[in-house]
Symmetry: C2
Subunit: 190 residues, 2 copies
Protein backbone atom coordinates (compact mmCIF):
# COMPACT_ATOMS: atom_id res chain seq x y z
CA UNK A 1 0.00 0.00 0.00
CA UNK A 2 1.66 3.13 -1.21
CA UNK A 3 1.53 6.53 0.38
CA UNK A 4 -1.60 8.59 0.22
CA UNK A 5 0.12 11.92 0.63
CA UNK A 6 -1.10 13.00 4.02
CA UNK A 7 -0.02 16.32 5.42
CA UNK A 8 -1.16 18.59 8.20
CA UNK A 9 -2.63 20.89 5.56
CA UNK A 10 -4.70 18.21 3.92
CA UNK A 11 -5.85 16.76 7.21
CA UNK A 12 -7.01 20.10 8.51
CA UNK A 13 -8.77 20.92 5.27
CA UNK A 14 -10.50 17.54 5.22
CA UNK A 15 -11.35 17.98 8.88
CA UNK A 16 -13.05 21.27 8.06
CA UNK A 17 -15.07 19.61 5.32
CA UNK A 18 -16.00 16.81 7.67
CA UNK A 19 -17.11 19.39 10.22
CA UNK A 20 -19.41 21.01 7.70
CA UNK A 21 -20.88 17.64 6.84
CA UNK A 22 -21.39 16.05 10.23
CA UNK A 23 -20.84 18.81 12.78
CA UNK A 24 -17.68 20.02 14.42
CA UNK A 25 -18.09 17.90 17.53
CA UNK A 26 -18.28 14.79 15.36
CA UNK A 27 -14.87 15.49 13.91
CA UNK A 28 -12.68 12.73 15.17
CA UNK A 29 -9.23 11.46 14.31
CA UNK A 30 -10.74 8.09 13.48
CA UNK A 31 -13.33 9.52 11.12
CA UNK A 32 -10.64 11.51 9.38
CA UNK A 33 -8.49 8.39 8.98
CA UNK A 34 -11.44 6.55 7.45
CA UNK A 35 -11.93 9.40 5.02
CA UNK A 36 -8.37 8.98 3.78
CA UNK A 37 -8.64 5.20 3.94
CA UNK A 38 -5.66 5.09 6.18
CA UNK A 39 -4.97 3.66 9.63
CA UNK A 40 -5.67 5.96 12.54
CA UNK A 41 -2.16 5.95 13.90
CA UNK A 42 -0.88 7.41 10.66
CA UNK A 43 -2.49 10.74 11.40
CA UNK A 44 -0.48 11.22 14.54
CA UNK A 45 2.61 12.08 12.53
CA UNK A 46 0.83 15.12 11.14
CA UNK A 47 -1.28 16.20 14.07
CA UNK A 48 -0.31 16.12 17.72
CA UNK A 49 -3.62 14.86 18.98
CA UNK A 50 -7.34 15.34 18.74
CA UNK A 51 -7.22 18.74 20.38
CA UNK A 52 -4.49 19.90 18.05
CA UNK A 53 -6.59 18.88 15.07
CA UNK A 54 -9.61 20.76 16.30
CA UNK A 55 -7.58 23.83 17.13
CA UNK A 56 -6.10 23.84 13.65
CA UNK A 57 -9.55 23.61 12.10
CA UNK A 58 -10.62 26.55 14.25
CA UNK A 59 -7.62 28.57 13.09
CA UNK A 60 -8.39 27.74 9.48
CA UNK A 61 -11.97 28.89 9.88
CA UNK A 62 -10.94 32.12 11.58
CA UNK A 63 -8.44 32.84 8.82
CA UNK A 64 -10.93 32.08 6.05
CA UNK A 65 -13.45 34.36 7.69
CA UNK A 66 -10.90 37.14 8.01
CA UNK A 67 -9.94 36.71 4.36
CA UNK A 68 -13.54 37.07 3.31
CA UNK A 69 -13.88 40.08 5.54
CA UNK A 70 -10.90 41.79 3.96
CA UNK A 71 -12.35 41.29 0.51
CA UNK A 72 -15.77 42.49 1.58
CA UNK A 73 -14.48 45.62 3.28
CA UNK A 74 -12.21 46.71 0.46
CA UNK A 75 -13.47 49.99 -0.90
CA UNK A 76 -16.47 50.18 1.39
CA UNK A 77 -17.27 52.50 4.26
CA UNK A 78 -20.10 53.38 6.60
CA UNK A 79 -23.25 51.35 6.40
CA UNK A 80 -22.03 49.70 3.25
CA UNK A 81 -19.08 48.29 5.13
CA UNK A 82 -21.24 47.35 8.10
CA UNK A 83 -23.57 45.32 5.95
CA UNK A 84 -20.77 43.74 3.99
CA UNK A 85 -18.91 42.45 7.02
CA UNK A 86 -22.09 41.33 8.74
CA UNK A 87 -23.05 39.33 5.67
CA UNK A 88 -19.62 37.75 5.57
CA UNK A 89 -20.22 36.20 8.98
CA UNK A 90 -23.78 35.17 8.26
CA UNK A 91 -23.05 33.72 4.84
CA UNK A 92 -19.99 31.88 6.04
CA UNK A 93 -21.93 30.32 8.89
CA UNK A 94 -24.66 29.19 6.53
CA UNK A 95 -22.25 27.82 3.97
CA UNK A 96 -19.91 26.26 6.51
CA UNK A 97 -21.75 25.55 9.75
CA UNK A 98 -19.10 23.15 10.99
CA UNK A 99 -16.28 25.57 10.33
CA UNK A 100 -18.26 28.36 11.97
CA UNK A 101 -18.74 26.18 15.04
CA UNK A 102 -15.01 25.50 14.98
CA UNK A 103 -14.29 29.22 14.94
CA UNK A 104 -16.14 29.40 18.25
CA UNK A 105 -13.78 26.94 19.91
CA UNK A 106 -12.15 28.29 23.01
CA UNK A 107 -8.50 28.62 22.16
CA UNK A 108 -5.74 28.58 24.70
CA UNK A 109 -3.84 31.87 24.89
CA UNK A 110 -1.06 30.66 22.65
CA UNK A 111 -3.36 29.56 19.85
CA UNK A 112 -5.50 32.64 20.32
CA UNK A 113 -2.48 34.85 19.81
CA UNK A 114 -1.57 33.03 16.61
CA UNK A 115 -5.15 33.20 15.36
CA UNK A 116 -6.84 35.68 13.06
CA UNK A 117 -8.72 37.02 16.06
CA UNK A 118 -6.81 40.26 15.87
CA UNK A 119 -7.74 40.71 12.22
CA UNK A 120 -11.40 40.35 13.13
CA UNK A 121 -11.16 42.97 15.82
CA UNK A 122 -9.40 45.31 13.40
CA UNK A 123 -12.04 44.77 10.72
CA UNK A 124 -14.84 45.67 13.06
CA UNK A 125 -12.94 48.71 14.19
CA UNK A 126 -12.40 49.68 10.57
CA UNK A 127 -16.14 49.81 10.05
CA UNK A 128 -16.42 52.35 12.82
CA UNK A 129 -14.16 54.73 10.98
CA UNK A 130 -17.25 55.62 8.99
CA UNK A 131 -18.97 56.72 12.18
CA UNK A 132 -17.94 59.38 14.60
CA UNK A 133 -17.00 57.52 17.75
CA UNK A 134 -14.17 58.36 20.11
CA UNK A 135 -12.74 55.98 22.70
CA UNK A 136 -13.99 54.38 24.84
CA UNK A 137 -17.27 54.45 22.94
CA UNK A 138 -15.56 52.97 19.94
CA UNK A 139 -14.60 49.89 21.93
CA UNK A 140 -18.12 49.62 23.30
CA UNK A 141 -19.40 49.72 19.75
CA UNK A 142 -16.89 47.15 18.56
CA UNK A 143 -18.13 44.82 21.25
CA UNK A 144 -21.74 45.48 20.40
CA UNK A 145 -21.19 44.70 16.75
CA UNK A 146 -19.30 41.55 17.60
CA UNK A 147 -22.10 40.47 19.91
CA UNK A 148 -24.83 41.07 17.37
CA UNK A 149 -22.98 39.40 14.53
CA UNK A 150 -22.07 36.36 16.54
CA UNK A 151 -25.29 36.20 18.51
CA UNK A 152 -27.59 36.51 15.54
CA UNK A 153 -25.71 34.10 13.35
CA UNK A 154 -25.42 31.58 16.12
CA UNK A 155 -29.08 31.75 17.09
CA UNK A 156 -30.24 31.61 13.49
CA UNK A 157 -27.99 28.65 12.80
CA UNK A 158 -29.22 26.88 15.92
CA UNK A 159 -32.79 27.25 14.80
CA UNK A 160 -33.64 29.73 17.50
CA UNK A 161 -35.62 31.82 15.06
CA UNK A 162 -37.47 29.03 13.33
CA UNK A 163 -41.21 28.70 12.90
CA UNK A 164 -41.56 32.43 12.79
CA UNK A 165 -43.46 34.99 10.83
CA UNK A 166 -41.03 37.61 9.51
CA UNK A 167 -38.34 35.69 7.72
CA UNK A 168 -34.83 35.93 9.05
CA UNK A 169 -33.45 37.84 6.07
CA UNK A 170 -35.95 40.59 6.75
CA UNK A 171 -34.95 40.73 10.41
CA UNK A 172 -31.27 40.76 9.52
CA UNK A 173 -31.76 43.73 7.21
CA UNK A 174 -33.73 45.65 9.78
CA UNK A 175 -31.22 44.92 12.53
CA UNK A 176 -28.41 46.26 10.38
CA UNK A 177 -30.49 49.35 9.62
CA UNK A 178 -31.04 49.80 13.33
CA UNK A 179 -27.35 49.38 14.15
CA UNK A 180 -26.45 51.95 11.52
CA UNK A 181 -28.85 54.43 13.07
CA UNK A 182 -27.54 53.64 16.50
CA UNK A 183 -23.92 54.13 15.51
CA UNK A 184 -24.75 57.48 13.93
CA UNK A 185 -26.51 58.54 17.12
CA UNK A 186 -24.50 56.82 19.79
CA UNK A 187 -25.90 57.95 23.14
CA UNK A 188 -23.40 59.82 25.31
CA UNK A 189 -22.60 58.51 28.77
CA UNK A 190 -25.21 59.80 31.16
Amino acid sequence: MGRVGLSTERLVRAGAELADEVGFDQVTVSALARRFDVKVASLYSHVKNSDDLRTRIALLALAELADRGDVALAGRAGKDALTALADVYRDYAREHPGRYAAAQLRLDPEAAAASAGGRHARMTRAILRGYDLAEPDQTHAVRLLGSVFHGYVSLELGGGFSHSAPDTQETWTRILDALDVLLRNWPPER
Copy 2:
Protein backbone atom coordinates in the same frame (compact mmCIF):
# COMPACT_ATOMS: atom_id res chain seq x y z
CA MET B 1 -22.29 -2.49 48.43
CA GLY B 2 -25.59 -0.88 49.24
CA ARG B 3 -27.50 1.48 47.05
CA VAL B 4 -26.37 5.02 46.59
CA GLY B 5 -29.75 6.42 45.70
CA LEU B 6 -29.28 7.36 42.08
CA SER B 7 -32.09 8.97 40.16
CA THR B 8 -32.44 10.87 36.92
CA GLU B 9 -32.90 14.05 38.98
CA ARG B 10 -29.70 13.61 40.93
CA LEU B 11 -27.70 12.58 37.89
CA VAL B 12 -28.77 15.59 35.90
CA ARG B 13 -28.13 17.91 38.80
CA ALA B 14 -24.68 16.42 39.37
CA GLY B 15 -24.06 16.57 35.64
CA ALA B 16 -24.79 20.29 35.70
CA GLU B 17 -22.36 20.79 38.56
CA LEU B 18 -19.77 18.78 36.72
CA ALA B 19 -20.31 20.93 33.64
CA ASP B 20 -19.66 24.07 35.65
CA GLU B 21 -16.49 22.58 37.03
CA VAL B 22 -14.89 21.01 33.99
CA GLY B 23 -16.87 22.29 31.01
CA PHE B 24 -19.98 20.95 29.36
CA ASP B 25 -18.14 18.95 26.73
CA GLN B 26 -16.22 17.12 29.44
CA VAL B 27 -19.44 15.85 30.95
CA THR B 28 -19.38 12.15 30.38
CA VAL B 29 -21.36 9.23 31.70
CA SER B 30 -18.14 7.76 33.04
CA ALA B 31 -17.13 10.89 34.89
CA LEU B 32 -20.56 11.08 36.42
CA ALA B 33 -20.34 7.46 37.55
CA ARG B 34 -17.00 8.16 39.18
CA ARG B 35 -18.51 11.11 40.98
CA PHE B 36 -21.13 8.83 42.54
CA ASP B 37 -18.57 6.08 43.08
CA VAL B 38 -20.68 3.72 41.10
CA LYS B 39 -20.12 1.56 38.04
CA VAL B 40 -20.84 3.18 34.71
CA ALA B 41 -23.50 0.73 33.64
CA SER B 42 -25.59 1.69 36.64
CA LEU B 43 -26.36 5.08 35.18
CA TYR B 44 -28.04 3.60 32.15
CA SER B 45 -31.11 2.74 34.18
CA HIS B 46 -31.68 6.43 34.84
CA VAL B 47 -30.52 8.00 31.62
CA LYS B 48 -31.00 6.63 28.12
CA ASN B 49 -27.54 7.48 26.88
CA SER B 50 -24.95 10.18 26.77
CA ASP B 51 -27.05 12.38 24.53
CA ASP B 52 -30.03 12.04 26.78
CA LEU B 53 -27.94 13.13 29.74
CA ARG B 54 -26.66 16.18 27.95
CA THR B 55 -30.08 17.12 26.71
CA ARG B 56 -31.48 16.90 30.23
CA ILE B 57 -28.73 19.15 31.53
CA ALA B 58 -29.56 21.63 28.78
CA LEU B 59 -33.24 21.55 29.73
CA LEU B 60 -32.34 22.11 33.36
CA ALA B 61 -30.22 25.12 32.50
CA LEU B 62 -32.90 26.62 30.26
CA ALA B 63 -35.50 26.18 33.00
CA GLU B 64 -33.26 27.67 35.69
CA LEU B 65 -32.56 30.63 33.45
CA ALA B 66 -36.24 31.13 32.77
CA ASP B 67 -37.00 30.92 36.49
CA ARG B 68 -34.46 33.63 37.19
CA GLY B 69 -35.89 35.68 34.39
CA ASP B 70 -39.39 35.47 35.80
CA VAL B 71 -38.19 36.66 39.17
CA ALA B 72 -36.15 39.47 37.64
CA LEU B 73 -38.97 40.73 35.45
CA ALA B 74 -41.61 40.73 38.14
CA GLY B 75 -42.75 44.30 38.73
CA ARG B 76 -40.35 45.82 36.25
CA ALA B 77 -40.95 47.50 32.92
CA GLY B 78 -39.09 49.45 30.27
CA LYS B 79 -35.38 49.87 30.64
CA ASP B 80 -35.55 48.49 34.13
CA ALA B 81 -36.88 45.24 32.78
CA LEU B 82 -34.39 45.24 29.92
CA THR B 83 -31.46 45.55 32.27
CA ALA B 84 -32.84 43.01 34.69
CA LEU B 85 -33.29 40.29 32.11
CA ALA B 86 -29.99 41.05 30.44
CA ASP B 87 -28.22 40.72 33.78
CA VAL B 88 -29.94 37.42 34.41
CA TYR B 89 -28.29 35.92 31.36
CA ARG B 90 -24.91 37.47 32.02
CA ASP B 91 -24.83 36.58 35.70
CA TYR B 92 -26.03 33.06 35.09
CA ALA B 93 -23.34 32.50 32.49
CA ARG B 94 -20.67 33.78 34.84
CA GLU B 95 -21.88 31.75 37.78
CA HIS B 96 -22.59 28.63 35.75
CA PRO B 97 -20.50 28.57 32.60
CA GLY B 98 -21.02 24.87 32.05
CA ARG B 99 -24.77 25.13 32.40
CA TYR B 100 -24.81 28.14 30.12
CA ALA B 101 -22.90 26.17 27.50
CA ALA B 102 -25.41 23.37 27.95
CA ALA B 103 -28.27 25.78 27.32
CA GLN B 104 -26.71 26.41 23.91
CA LEU B 105 -26.93 22.74 22.94
CA ARG B 106 -28.83 22.17 19.75
CA LEU B 107 -31.98 20.34 20.78
CA ASP B 108 -33.93 18.12 18.49
CA PRO B 109 -37.44 19.44 17.79
CA GLU B 110 -39.03 17.24 20.42
CA ALA B 111 -36.73 18.37 23.23
CA ALA B 112 -36.92 21.94 22.00
CA ALA B 113 -40.68 21.89 22.27
CA ALA B 114 -40.49 20.57 25.83
CA SER B 115 -37.87 23.14 26.77
CA ALA B 116 -38.21 26.51 28.42
CA GLY B 117 -37.35 28.10 25.08
CA GLY B 118 -40.85 29.44 24.75
CA ARG B 119 -40.64 31.08 28.16
CA HIS B 120 -37.48 32.87 27.09
CA ALA B 121 -39.10 34.20 23.95
CA ARG B 122 -42.09 35.39 25.97
CA MET B 123 -39.86 37.13 28.52
CA THR B 124 -38.03 39.06 25.84
CA ARG B 125 -41.33 40.00 24.27
CA ALA B 126 -42.60 41.12 27.65
CA ILE B 127 -39.77 43.62 27.87
CA LEU B 128 -40.92 45.18 24.65
CA ARG B 129 -44.30 45.99 26.13
CA GLY B 130 -42.55 48.94 27.69
CA TYR B 131 -41.66 50.20 24.23
CA ASP B 132 -43.93 51.12 21.40
CA LEU B 133 -43.31 48.50 18.76
CA ALA B 134 -45.88 46.92 16.48
CA GLU B 135 -45.35 43.73 14.53
CA PRO B 136 -43.25 42.84 12.68
CA ASP B 137 -40.84 45.27 14.28
CA GLN B 138 -41.48 43.69 17.63
CA THR B 139 -40.21 40.37 16.35
CA HIS B 140 -37.18 42.03 14.82
CA ALA B 141 -36.48 43.62 18.19
CA VAL B 142 -36.96 40.33 20.04
CA ARG B 143 -34.38 38.79 17.78
CA LEU B 144 -32.00 41.68 18.23
CA LEU B 145 -32.21 41.47 22.00
CA GLY B 146 -31.71 37.73 21.94
CA SER B 147 -28.69 38.16 19.69
CA VAL B 148 -27.07 40.79 21.86
CA PHE B 149 -27.70 38.97 25.11
CA HIS B 150 -26.42 35.68 23.81
CA GLY B 151 -23.66 37.13 21.69
CA TYR B 152 -22.24 39.37 24.36
CA VAL B 153 -22.39 36.81 27.12
CA SER B 154 -20.89 34.16 24.95
CA LEU B 155 -18.03 36.34 23.70
CA GLU B 156 -17.28 37.65 27.17
CA LEU B 157 -17.27 34.15 28.59
CA GLY B 158 -15.02 32.93 25.81
CA GLY B 159 -12.50 35.62 26.57
CA GLY B 160 -13.21 37.48 23.35
CA PHE B 161 -13.05 40.79 25.19
CA SER B 162 -9.93 40.15 27.23
CA HIS B 163 -6.85 42.33 27.39
CA SER B 164 -9.00 45.36 26.99
CA ALA B 165 -9.14 48.89 28.23
CA PRO B 166 -12.74 49.67 29.15
CA ASP B 167 -13.82 46.91 31.45
CA THR B 168 -16.62 44.65 30.33
CA GLN B 169 -19.08 45.85 32.94
CA GLU B 170 -18.76 49.36 31.57
CA THR B 171 -19.39 48.14 28.04
CA TRP B 172 -22.35 46.08 29.16
CA THR B 173 -23.95 49.09 30.79
CA ARG B 174 -23.40 51.27 27.75
CA ILE B 175 -24.74 48.63 25.39
CA LEU B 176 -27.92 48.35 27.42
CA ASP B 177 -28.23 52.14 27.40
CA ALA B 178 -27.82 52.08 23.65
CA LEU B 179 -30.40 49.33 23.19
CA ASP B 180 -32.86 51.27 25.31
CA VAL B 181 -32.40 54.35 23.12
CA LEU B 182 -32.70 52.24 20.01
CA LEU B 183 -35.93 50.60 21.14
CA ARG B 184 -37.43 53.97 21.96
CA ASN B 185 -36.48 55.24 18.51
CA TRP B 186 -36.82 52.16 16.36
CA PRO B 187 -36.18 53.22 12.78
CA PRO B 188 -39.15 52.67 10.46
CA GLU B 189 -38.75 50.50 7.40
CA ARG B 190 -37.36 52.58 4.62
